[in-house]
């Protein structure tokens, strides 16, 4: 579906210069007014709200703000504006269902609504999580590809390339991104899913050139795979993101636009961040000619970028409900977890995120992931994805009321340590890595958490 990227090229140079502090500081007072006008209210007791009216009002508030505020572009310091008609022309002509991948590994994305019994896609991987390069990286990816609930594979972040640090704008970064996607291709082949669609935010692409370099039918991203192009928080983009989007779209690669409205940041309250999130969904869809927008609300207090804060679960839910009720454009839910592999907390977080996404009309993932770096490497495993995927399947069709009850119970389990979670373990500690067999201790924790979720009403079939 063509968006407005040709128009974007022109509009990034139009209009008066707007200084960034002026753009930033005007957000909070306006979203406060809009929250009042549209009666948008955060209720901590209901991270999964059951209020169709509020979801529809959030959609209207986000549309009004998207049209009014526009998208600020870092390189030119201009604001790109879109009309309401342009936004509707994009959303209304968006074709779903959409099929991705090749051969027997193809999957189809169907439009969903809150409480829908239409199966969501699960996008499993760990973009943002630091991994040892080479064979270990490939094993991580195989681990994700071997999870039967995983419909599309997402990448992880190699910690080094050829034993060297990865530096932005360096030749090593381009080499790293090419290697990284090559390892994912190898992993899905070795896992017996060579046609599995890929959903990639290359860890070795802090700059645009490596992202462009991985579009390669033979060894990299194929037509119909996905590449990330994130908006900047709040309501901003830059040439770097637009270059990724244009390169992807014109080579037949789908664009997934990530947005990260922040509670406590320029948007202020959860309500303000929800309105920014809704506005950014419109702007991200049209400006990047996106196939999907991936919502990743964050709370200022969580350094790891986790999406599992009570306020951000609410934003995920209400933004997901707003869009799934009012248009066919698909929304994904980035799943970033605060805790690490090997802990009970990481499993409760994964379950909560899956339940919120699916009951609110969204698709699950990409995830589960978490920002790690430095010496904090390989702290992710396939078991968190198993929890995310199996829970997503089990709660498909669940009412928001029931979903809310269970999510609140999950929060009681992990909220006390959120922001300071117990130290986890690495893949090498939790698995027999050559065989990719999970060790008993970690599997037992998974089964224990799953049994408790089942006792609360999550209808797992196995």
């Amino acid at each position: 579906m063509p968006g407005l990227h040709f128009e974007m090229m022109e509009r990034v140079n139009e209009g008066p210069r707007v200084r960034e502090p002026e753009f930033d500081k005007s957000i909070f007072p306006r979203v406060k007014e809009l929250a009042e006008k549209y009666d948008i209210k955060y209720d901590p007791a209901n991270p999964v709200p059951d209020d169709d009216g509020m979801a529809d009002r959030l959609f209207a508030a986000g549309l009004e703000y998207a049209v009014e505020k526009g998208l600020w572009v870092l390189d030119t310091q201009k604001v790109v504006k879109f009309t309401e008609a342009e936004i509707w022309r994009y959303l209304d002509n968006f074709h779903t269902p959409l099929t991705f991948g090749y051969g027997k590994d193809q999957v189809t994305l169907y439009p969903r609504k809150p409480e829908s019994d239409v199966r969501p896609l699960v996008i499993g991987g760990a973009a943002g999580s630091s991994m040892t390069e080479g064979e270990i990286y490939t094993k991580h990816m195989m681990n994700f590809a071997l999870e039967p609930t995983n419909d599309m594979i997402a990448n992880g972040n190699p910690a080094w390339i050829e034993g060297r640090e990865i530096r932005p704008f360096s030749p090593n970064e381009v080499h790293g991104a090419i290697q990284e996607v090559g390892w994912i291709r190898e992993a899905i082949r070795r896992a017996g899913r060579p046609g599995m669609p890929m959903f990639v935010a290359p860890g070795c692409a802090a700059s645009a050139p490596p992202a462009v370099a991985i579009i390669n039918e033979e060894r990299g991203l194929r037509k119909g795979d996905f590449m990330y192009a994130a908006l900047l928080t709040e309501l901003k983009s830059d040439y770097d993101r637009l270059i990724r989007a244009v390169a992807a779209v014109e080579n037949g690669v789908n664009v997934a636009t990530l947005l990260a409205p922040m509670v406590g940041g320029w948007a202020g309250s959860p309500e303000g961040a929800a309105i920014c999130g809704a506005a950014e969904t419109f702007l991200g869809a049209i400006s990047h000619s996106s196939t999907i927008v991936v919502n990743h609300p964050v709370h200022m207090s969580l350094k790891n970028g986790a999406t599992t804060h009570r306020t951000t679960l609410w934003i995920e839910s209400i933004v997901g409900q707003a869009f799934s009720r009012n248009c066919r454009f698909p929304i994904g839910q980035n799943v970033f977890l605060d805790a690490r592999a090997g802990t009970y907390e990481v499993l409760w977080e994964a379950a909560a995120n899956a339940i919120v996404a699916v009951s609110s009309g969204q698709h699950t993932g990409p995830g589960p992931s978490g920002i790690t770096g430095g010496d904090d490497v390989d702290m992710i495993s396939g078991i968190e994805l198993r929890m995310l995927g199996e829970t997503s399947r089990a709660v498909t069709g669940m009412t928001r009321k029931k979903a809310n009850e269970i999510v609140v119970k999950c929060l009681e389990k992990y909220e006390p340590t959120l922001g300071n979670p117990p130290k986890g373990k690495s893949l090498q500690e939790l698995y027999d890595v050559p065989k990719l067999q999970v060790k008993e201790e970690w599997l037992a924790k998974f089964e224990e958490v799953k049994a408790e979720l089942k006792s609360w009403g999550v209808p797992y079939r196995y």
Binding site: D24, K25, I27, F28, L74, S130, N157, A159, E165, I166, R167, P168, F169, E173, G203, C204, A206, S207, L232, T233, D238, D240, M262, G264, G265, W266, A267, G268, S269, G272, M300, S301, K303, N304, G305, I371, T372, G373, G374, D375, D376
Partner: protein, 214 residues
């Protein structure tokens, strides 16, 4: 207006982030013979403390804190010409940047606002800044602390580069270098020889105070 009312107005101007109120109150304080030191100690400082506490509890957000910092600066600009001795002296000069290749700057912006409201002279040179520019500007501006921020894993080598550059230039001991952001940790700070790591924005402020008191 009584002295108490003027100090209350100053307090409210800073707490509410209203530049004109804070500046007017600062002028009224001078006109009423209130010393700049008293205006700061009894008007602005309690407001700043309150801002910090509310922000910590999640009752106040970044834009409100930035507005309070702006209001405080507006009031200080009025008071400054009337300082005597070391009245109103900043707690220290901090240069802060998000390193090259990283455009995520909200964490850095929060630290900037918190440092400002806590009385530091902060030079924010922005996001995606080349290591050479960070070093050169730190030298040119004679700062005491260099704060480096990044969210991406690829930010980490840039932090190491900057410390090595300071070493190579023979000026490492003239600066305290602190790091923060998603992938950073105390272990990484130790590994690259940074002087400190701030896990939260608050830690960064405490760290700057500690480093400059040594």
């Amino acid at each position: 207006m009584s002295e108490k009312d003027i100090l209350q107005k100053l307090y409210e101007g800073v707490l509410g982030g209203v530049m004109t109120t804070a500046a007017d109150a600062a002028q009224e304080a001078l006109d009423a013979g209130i010393t700049p030191l008293k205006a700061i100690d009894e008007g602005m400082s309690p407001a700043i403390k309150e801002v910090g506490e509310r922000f910590g509890k999640g009752e106040m957000f970044l834009p409100e804190m930035v507005a309070s910092a702006d209001a405080m600066e507006a009031a200080l600009a009025i008071l400054e010409p009337h300082f005597e001795g070391d009245e109103g002296e900043s707690k220290g000069k901090v240069l802060i940047a998000t390193v090259q290749g990283d455009i995520h700057d909200i964490g850095k912006n929060i630290v900037v606002a918190l440092l400002k409201v806590n009385g530091f002279d902060v030079i924010d040179i922005g996001r995606d800044i080349a290591s050479t520019d960070i070093v050169d500007k730190s030298v040119d501006l004679g700062v005491e602390i260099i704060g480096l921020s990044g969210l991406l894993t690829t930010s980490l080598p840039m932090m190491r580069d900057i410390i090595e550059m300071l070493d190579d230039d023979g000026v490492r001991d003239q600066y305290k270098v602190i790091i923060g952001g998603g992938p950073t940790s105390q272990d990484y700070a130790d590994e690259i020889g940074a002087d400190g790591y701030g896990e939260t924005a608050y830690n960064a402020v405490e760290l700057c105070s500690q480093l400059l008191s040594k």
